[in-house]
């Protein structure tokens, strides 16, 4: 196969749990955010209501539209959609369980049933943008966004698709105790939700950044220090940093792992983005996309690091030149 080519970021958008998507709207979360109603924002951003669409679909559709608007031009219809989600339709799924299962077995609401089809959000994203190409929804726990970005990155590098819209979308549910059935959080972790997207293609003109890597490291069984050293080795071999490196710690990292990593990577700056979006399986998308909110004064290189209970580590590396 032909030598893979470079993948450029042309636009990004990160919609957070308080309906925030602009730098001035970002709020540092000190507690679980209140349930958000997206109907008004849907009308404002999309110019229409999505009748019968779920909260999850609205999240996805708004985030994707914001991203494409920032790209400044309509994407070609052959743009592929890759949506990563760890939990997908939590609320519609919950409603279906109540409707159908004991004690009150009844028929499912048709709209809850349709919405609970896990690829419905990606369908809406494609439909609203007129995209008729490859359309994939992927789920892989807290690496769901990494899985989606990896496939998009590889498809673009190998010329399988001309452009890609890649997102990470998850919704929360209430009360917290109920939501903890779906994901494990420490008491000190705020539960969040979000919809964050990158618009990618192979054209350097007008790009605001570049995807450098989406990697999986087998680090099973490695303790904090040994694990951090393994990452340091990988980063050293992979990058010749030409810009300051910022670390985006994913929600799977324990505080001591983040600390070990900052010790192992001299000069690295910490960018704790979870303070703004809370914890959810695809928060990595928010972490990466949010970095493009404001053009940096100097070139920047961001490294998102996440780890799961099995010990596997996933890295995303992105670079942004100065002023873009």
């Amino acid at each position: 196969m032909a030598e893979p080519s470079v993948v450029y970021i042309h636009a990004s958008a990160a919609l957070g749990p308080n309906r925030d998507y602009l730098p001035a709207q970002r709020v540092r979360l000190s507690a679980d955010p209140a349930p958000s109603d997206l109907r008004e924002l849907t009308r404002r951003v999309l110019g229409q209501s999505l009748r019968q669409a779920s909260h999850f679909v609205e999240l996805a559709a708004i985030g994707a539209r914001l991203c494409l608007e920032r790209a400044g031009q309509a994407p070609p219809p052959a743009t592929a959609v890759y949506l990563g989600t760890g939990l997908a339709e939590v609320r519609a799924g919950e409603a279906l369980f109540k409707q159908v299962l004991p004690p009150g077995p009844g028929l499912a609401s048709p709209f809850d049933f349709i919405n609970a089809t896990n690829n419905m959000a990606a369908f809406y994203v494609a439909r609203l943008a007129g995209l008729v190409s490859r359309n994939l929804t992927l789920t892989l726990e807290q690496f769901s966004f990494e899985a989606a970005l990896y496939l998009a990155w590889q498809d673009l590098r190998h010329g399988a698709v001309p452009a890609a819209l890649v997102g990470g979308v998850d919704e929360n549910s209430f009360p917290r105790a109920n939501h903890l059935r779906f994901l494990s959080l420490r008491d000190d972790q705020v539960m969040g939700e979000g919809s964050a997207w990158l618009y990618l293609n192979g054209d350097p003109d007008g790009a605001i950044g570049e995807v450098l890597c989406v990697e999986t490291l087998k680090t099973d069984g490695l303790g904090g220090t040994a694990w951090a050293q393994a990452l340091r080795q990988f980063v050293g071999a992979q990058f010749t940093p030409t810009a300051p490196v910022s670390l985006l710690p994913g929600y799977g990292l324990a505080p001591e792992e983040t600390e070990a990593l900052t010790r192992a990577l001299p000069g690295v700056m910490l960018a704790p983005y979870l303070d703004y979006c809370g914890c959810y399986p695809t928060a990595a998308a928010f972490g990466v996309a949010m970095q493009f909110d404001v053009p940096p004064a100097a070139p920047q290189l961001w490294l998102h690091v996440n780890r799961d209970r099995r010990g596997q580590t996933r890295l995303i590396g992105v670079r942004r030149p100065a002023g873009c």
């Binding site: 196969m1 959609v81 989600t85 760890g86 939990l87 997908a88 799924g93 279906l96 369980f97 409707q99 159908v100 299962l101 004991p102 004690p103 077995p105 009844g106 028929l107 499912a108 609401s109 048709p110 049933f113 349709i114 609970a116 089809t117 896990n118 690829n119 419905m120 990606a122 369908f123 494609a126 439909r127 007129g130 995209l131 008729v132 190409s133 490859r134 359309n135 994939l136 929804t137 992927l138 789920t139 892989l140 726990e141 690496f143 769901s144 899985a147 990896y150 496939l151 590889q154 498809d155 190998h158 399988a160 109920n178 059935r181 779906f182 999986t216 087998k218 099995r310």
Partner: protein, 383 residues
Amino acid sequence: MCVGGYGLVSCYGTGAQAVVEPLRARRPGSAPLTGLQLPLPEALPVNRMDPQRYPAGMAGTQAAMLAAAHEALTMAGLDRTHALTDCALVLGGTGSLAIAEAEIRRVWERTGVATALPVTSAGAMARQLATTLGLDGPVFCLATACASSANALLVARDLIRRGQARRALVIGAERLSAITLSGFQSLLLLDPAGCRPFDAARRGLQLGEGVGALWLEPVPAGHADSGRRHRFHGGANLCDTHHMTSASPDGGAMARVMQAALTQAGVAAEEIVAIKAHGTGSADNDLAEAAAMKTVFGARVPPFTGLKRGLGHTLAACGAVETVAFLACLDAGFIPPTAGFEAFDPALGVQPLVPAQDAPAGIYLYNFFGFGGNYGTLVIGHG
């Protein structure tokens, strides 16, 4: 790239061979639905795996997945002593919804309490399965409705072609779910008389469960592409943005995905020997698929067949389940006929294959069309 092995657990039993004679004879593998207190039509036909061997719930589902996987690996000449280093696992459907239902139902029956239980995600099941099977390459899990496991095959193919995995196991699993049955009933999409693909009197779907597994690998050096190895020429996935649950009525989007698959595979339409149609038996879907086949193939639509009366519509798993069933029939020397079809529909202008016909060597097309306009077409050789 080829399918080096395949395995199946279906309503006909364990093993791909179990489907061959029933499908040849157009013998439905369905039975009336029992055990779920739901407001559904009486004696609704469904296709279930052996409930003794593969009970509803996590253990039974995992057992079915492992049975299909081991059959595929064995056919590929890999026993449990072989290291599966750098081999990928790509899942299209896990049955996780039905697993959660089974747990809730079990607690309800024992205690009379409707319990909220921890939910096992499809992603977690995929990664657990990879560990159990010793597959230490990339793991992916596709959630694209009824095209899930067809898309899983396309993703696995790309991983191998690009050197990201040496070989790959693709699994599609689906369990019968009360929520799914109820949802399709709410949409008036279940046919109480069973699935009748492309039939003039067709009224809808017949749901089923099953697990299919396919082992993808490069064609081994020095081996002819023959025997039980099926060359995987390519395929495509596209999105029909017409409607959430129904196809573009003119079949335009379905035609585009078939054409894209042929183009990607470097195969001309005239080279296609036969088509494994999606053939849900719903009025609109079959109409659109028939129109699409006429668009792509003109007046000479190859023989096509629908398998959902025999196997049930296994939803996310159908890409794996029906591909394996079709390959097993080809390897037995015939193209399977369409069970459930009786009467020609003039609105379609084409009719599916009845009875079985000899399967010549050549290239076959496989269609899978899902909710959310998610369409996948595969191009796979035989002999």
